[in-house]
C-alpha cells in the first residue's frame, strides 16, 4: 500500500519537498546542538527541561486523543466513526514518532539512549514511559495498517487484530498517565505535585487530539476526494466540547487549591505564570491568551449554531489547540521550574536554534503523517472508483 505515497499531484510533491527542507534546517541545527551541547538552548541548571519536553508532553496528548474515536467505534459500535478510525490511528503514529524524537533531541548523550534498555530500571517513570510509548506506536501501526488493508480488500480485518484494538484503548490512557507521572511524583515540585495532573492531561488530550483530527478531516476533504463526513466531524466536535470543559474544570480545581490553601510551594508557580514573579513575566501574556482561547472556544463549542457551522468550527479547533498548546507546551513544564527549589526566579526563554529544531521535529512528524494519510486516501479513492 505504501506505493500510494509515491504517486501524487504537484501540490503534494511541493508540500513534501517543503517539509523536507524544514526537516533539513532542523537537522542542521540539531547537528550544531550535538556539537555545542544543550547550552545552545535556553535551558539552565534551574530550568533543566524546556521546549522539547513540553512539546513531548503536548504530543503525547495528541497521540492519546485518538482513543476518542476508538472508544465510540469499537466499544459503542458507533458505525459512523468506522470511516475515520484509521485517520485517528495514523495521527497517533505520527504523534508518538514526534514524542520519541523530542526525547532524543533533549538527551545530553543521545548515543547512549539504549542504556535505558541495557539497565532496565522499573523504579524510574522514564523506563515505563519508554515501554508505553513504544507499545502504543506498535499497536497503532499494526492495527491501522491491517484495518486499512482489510478495507482495501473488502474483507473484515483478521481476527487477531480485535484483541490489539481492545488493548490499545487502555493503552492510550496509559501513555498520558505515565507522562503525567513523570512530573507529579517528584517531591520538590509543588506545581506538578497534584493528583489531578494525569486526569487533566487526559482531558486536554481528549480535546486537542479530536480537534486536530477535525482540522485534518477538513484538509483531507479540501485536497482529496475523501470526505470524513459531516456527522463524524460534528460527533468529534461534541467530544472536543466535553473535554475542553472538563479540562477547564480541572484547571480551576487546581487554582482553587493553590489560592485557598495559600501554600507558597503551590501558589508561587501559578503566580509566576499569570502575574510574574520578581519582575520576571515572559509567560504572562501567553498564559492569559491561553485562558482566553479556552474560554472563547468553549462558548463557541457550546453554542449549537457556531458548532454546526464548519467554518467557525475550524477556527474554534485552531483556538482550542493553540490554547492547550500554550498551557502544556509552554506553561506546564517551565512553570514547574520557576521558582527553583531554592526559591529563586530564573526564567527560561527558548532560543532560535531550539525553536528551529522543534519546528524540524514537527515537520518530520507531519512528513510521516502526510505519507500515512496519502496511503489512506489512496485506498479510499481506489474503493470508490
Amino acid at each position: 500500500m505504501l506505493e500510494k505515497a509515491l504517486k501524487g499531484s504537484k501540490a503534494y510533491w511541493i508540500w513534501v519537498l517543503a517539509l523536507l527542507v524544514v526537516i533539513t534546517v532542523g537537522f542542521y541545527f540539531y547537528l550544531r546542538q550535538l556539537d555545542f551541547g544543550l547550552g545552545i538552548t535556553g535551558m539552565s541548571r534551574d530550568v533543566s527541561w524546556g521546549f522539547y519536553i513540553a512539546q513531548f508532553t503536548f504530543l503525547v496528548g495528541i497521540a492519546a486523543g485518538g482513543v476518542m474515536v476508538a472508544i465510540p467505534h469499537y466499544l459503542h459500535d458507533y458505525k459512523a466513526f468506522g470511516k475515520i478510525t484509521v485517520l485517528a490511528e495514523f495521527l497517533a503514529v505520527a504523534s508518538v514518532l514526534m514524542c520519541m524524537m523530542f526525547i532524543i533531541v533533549d538527551l545530553g548523550q543521545p548515543m547512549r539512549f539504549l542504556n535505558v534498555i541495557f539497565y532496565p530500571t522499573p523504579h524510574s517513570m522514564l523506563f515505563w514511559d519508554m515501554i508505553v510509548l513504544s507499545g502504543y506506536l506498535f499497536l497503532n501501526i499494526v492495527v491501522g495498517w491491517n484495518v486499512l488493508d482489510a478495507e482495501r480488500n473488502s474483507v473484515p480485518p483478521p481476527a487477531w487484530v480485535k484483541p490489539l484494538i481492545y488493548i490499545s484503548i487502555p493503552w492510550a490512557i496509559s501513555i498520558h498517565t505515565v507522562t503525567a507521572f513523570l512530573y507529579c511524583g517528584l517531591p520538590g515540585r509543588g506545581f506538578w505535585l497534584t493528583a489531578v495532573l494525569a486526569p487533566r492531561f487526559l482531558a486536554s488530550a481528549f480535546a486537542a487530539g479530536p480537534a486536530f483530527l477535525i482540522l485534518l478531516c477538513f484538509v483531507v476533504r479540501k485536497f482529496t476526494k475523501f470526505d470524513a463526513g459531516r456527522e463524524q466531524i460534528q460527533a468529534l466536535a461534541k467530544i472536543v466540547t466535553y473535554a475542553m470543559i472538563i479540562n477547564l474544570f480541572f484547571f480551576l480545581c487546581e487554582v482553587f487549591v493553590a489560592i485557598y490553601s495559600q501554600i507558597p510551594e503551590h501558589l508561587e508557580h501559578l503566580e509566576y505564570l499569570f502575574f510574574g514573579l520578581d519582575g520576571h513575566n515572559f509567560l504572562v501574556p501567553w498564559m492569559w491568551t491561553s485562558i482566553a482561547l479556552i474560554v472563547v472556544t468553549i462558548i463557541l463549542l457550546l453554542n449549537p449554531a457556531s458548532r454546526r457551522n464548519e467554518t467557525v468550527l475550524g477556527f474554534t479547533c485552531v483556538g482550542a489547540i493553540v490554547g492547550i498548546w500554550i498551557d502544556k507546551g509552554l506553561g506546564m513544564i517551565t512553570g514547574g521550574f520557576v521558582p527553583n527549589p531554592l526559591n529563586q526566579v530564573h526564567e527560561y526563554i527558548p532560543t532560535k536554534p531550539e525553536i528551529l529544531i522543534t519546528i524540524g521535529v514537527y515537520a518530520a512528524g507531519l512528513f510521516a503523517l502526510t505519507i500515512l494519510y496519502k496511503v489512506v486516501v489512496g485506498v479510499k479513492a481506489e474503493l470508490t472508483a
Binding site: 551541547g37 535551558m43 541548571r45 545530553g108 541495557f118 530500571t121 517528584l186 527549589p341 531554592l342 530564573h346
Partner: protein, 266 residues
Amino acid sequence: MENNRRNFLKFAGVSVLGLGSLSLIDGLTSDDVVASSGQSPEATFKKSKNALTAKRWGMVIDTRKLNSQICRKIEKACHQVHNVPHHEDKRHEIKWIWDTHYKHVFPGKQDEFLAERLKELPIPVLCNHCANPPCVQACPTQATFQREDGIVMMDFHRCIGCRFCMAACPYGSRSFNFRDPRLDDAIKNENTEFPTRMKGVVEKCNFCAERLAVGKQPLCVEVSEGALVFGDLEDPQSEVRQLLKENYAIRRKQNLGTNPSVYYLV
C-alpha cells in the same frame, strides 16, 4: 536491594576473575571493578588500607562558625579539586557546593523575624546525600545510585543526560554540562587525579568519595576551619552524632521524606 545487587555483581565478577576475597579489600584496581560490576572507573574508587568507612556518611554544618571568607575557600577548593568548569554564562553554571542565604537554603522556614545573624549569613548548600534519594529513584539507567555507605554517586559514563534527576532533586543540587567542560579554558589548573566530565552529563557533589577511599576527609571539611564536620551518622560515638546530641539541628525540606544526611546547626 540496589546495593545488594551491585555487591553481588562485584563478588560474582571477582570470583570469575579468580581473585580471592582478600584482594577485594585492597588489591583491586579500578579497572577490575569495571570489568566485574559494569560500573565505570570513576564510579568506584580503588580503596586503600586506610580508607575511611561508615555505615552512613553525614555532615554537620555549624553556621555559627561560618563567614563569607570560609565559604569562598570551601567552594574554590572543592571546584578546583573536582575539575568543576567555570562558564561565563550563568545558565551553564556547574556547582557542587556554593553558598546562599538562609531564605534560599530553607525556603519553607522563612521567618518574619529571623535572627539578625542569619539574615545575611552565607550558608553552604550541596548534595544532601539523602537516605531516600528521589534522584536515584528517577534515574532511568541507574547512572546515579546510592552506595552502601549512603553516598549518592554519579556514573558519568552511563548518564544519558535526560536530566530527570535534576527535576527530581528538591534541593537544586545537580548541574548539567550544557557545554563541553574541557573546552575554552573552563577548567583552570586541571587536577589529573580526578576525571573531567564531558558535555551532556549531570554531575554533583560526591562527598569526596575519592578522598575517603584513601583515608582523607572531604576537602570542604578540611578547609572549613571547623565549620563543617563529617562522620558516620550511624555511629553514636562519631563527632557528627556528638554535635547533633548537644545542638538543635535542622535539615533542608525534611518534610519531603528524603531524609537528608546534611544537618545545619543554626
